[in-house]
Amino acid sequence: AEAAELRARLRAVRHTVLVLSGKGGVGKSTFSALLAHGLAADETKQVALLDIDICGPSIPKMMGLEGEQVHQSGSGWSPVYVEENLGVMSVGFLLSSPDDAVIWRGPKKNGLIKQFLRDVDWGEVDYLIVDTPPGTSDEHLSIVQYLSATHIDGAVIVTTPQEVSLQDVRKEINFCRKVKLPIIGVVENMSGFVCPKCKNESQIFPPTTGGAEKMCQNLNVSFLGKVPLDPQIGKSCDRGQSFLAEAPESPATLSYRNIIQRIEEYCEQHHLQEEKIM
């Protein structure tokens, strides 16, 4: 009955993309936010961003929605809208103060995630993007389990170039395989830094074992692209602005846009194949 409830609520969601890592601090939330902005640039598309990082919800700040509260209506919880076609939900909106720590064990976190999926009135959605915390634990198991009521197009896995990150990302890839979650591909963030003054490139996080590209070759996973470090990215996130809009000329923006396009193509192709089957 629960599964039926979830299925009903998520019936109007066309595509679902999970943003995962395994490693913390590699840019999952940043990527999720920009993916949402990028997709919502097409005003004909309805985009939803769900932040299930219960201990460290970054999405409200990155989307410029800190301090917003969730409203209840007859049809459920209302997402907070950044644009008419871009709605956001995060545990961050449920906290009375942004410094409140949510110190919950697994079962309570799972309960909230289920509630988000069951009680949020997303309406008709073209893309549901789910931002996750680092790791392979309760939140990840639960979201895959609950979303099996609908279908997940796949996961985008984010990493940085160094082996210490790749080590955790390989585990995440194995997690995806274990739970039969398709992998759309891997994004390598913080991949090089071009000095705005002298234009020289430095590897701030050297890919000592070949970086994400080599790892993808070894594991037969699609490599979606590299995004260079740009201090403007962090600034835009802190200020709740879209980096893509604030720095349209940055090489990082170009990279993000290419990657977003590839994700869109993957989802649309997936959809066509499903329609064919049906």
């Binding site: 201990c55 460290g56 110190i103 919950w104 064990r105 697994g106 680092p134 634990s137 997690f175």
Partner: protein
């Protein structure tokens, strides 16, 4: 129990390295802190309770080590230039390094409790406990398990943004 207390009884100070945020350098700092304290002549141990992403073994070049048990519990892996830093990490218990530890809270809690009470640390001046990001099962269980002992306190790590 007496046996439980015995393994941490010889530890003078327990230091937790926390953040909340991932990827800010907790494991890096834990490693450097341990090496610096050792360099200053202290007896040091590291406990890596990041079950999903154990980074410390690789940072100390012992990612291929295995652990075994003795009468008083798990024997830590000895690392560092003089092999005098005692390290215990879930990383050592994985059959394959790419295996994901996909566990829910209760199973993680059981392992952490075992880690805290079942490792034969011996006499240490400092035990540094490296944690995963967040404020969840691992953190609650680690603090609960360590509460009866000499917890010096927590060092919090962040980045500027």
């Amino acid at each position: 129990t007496l046996a439980e207390r015995a393994n941490l009884a010889g530890v003078q100070h327990i230091l937790l390295v926390l953040s909340g945020k991932g990827g800010v350098g907790k494991s890096t700092l834990s490693t450097e802190l341990a090496l610096a304290l050792r360099h200053a002549g202290k007896r040091v141990g590291i406990l890596d309770v990041d079950l999903c992403g154990p980074s410390i073994p690789r940072m100390l070049r012992v990612q291929d080590s295995a652990v075994h048990q003795c009468d008083s519990g798990w024997v830590p892996v000895f690392v560092g230039q003089d092999k005098a830093i005692a390290l215990m990490s879930i990383g050592f218990l994985l059959e394959r390094p790419d295996d994901a530890v996909v566990w829910r809270g209760p199973k993680k809690n059981a392992l952490i409790k075992q880690f805290v009470t079942d490792v034969a640390w011996g006499d240490l001046d400092f035990l540094i406990v490296d944690t995963p990001p967040g404020t969840s099962d691992e953190h609650i269980s680690t603090v609960e398990a360590l509460r009866p002992y000499q917890m010096l306190g927590a060092v919090l790590v962040t980045t500027p943004q």
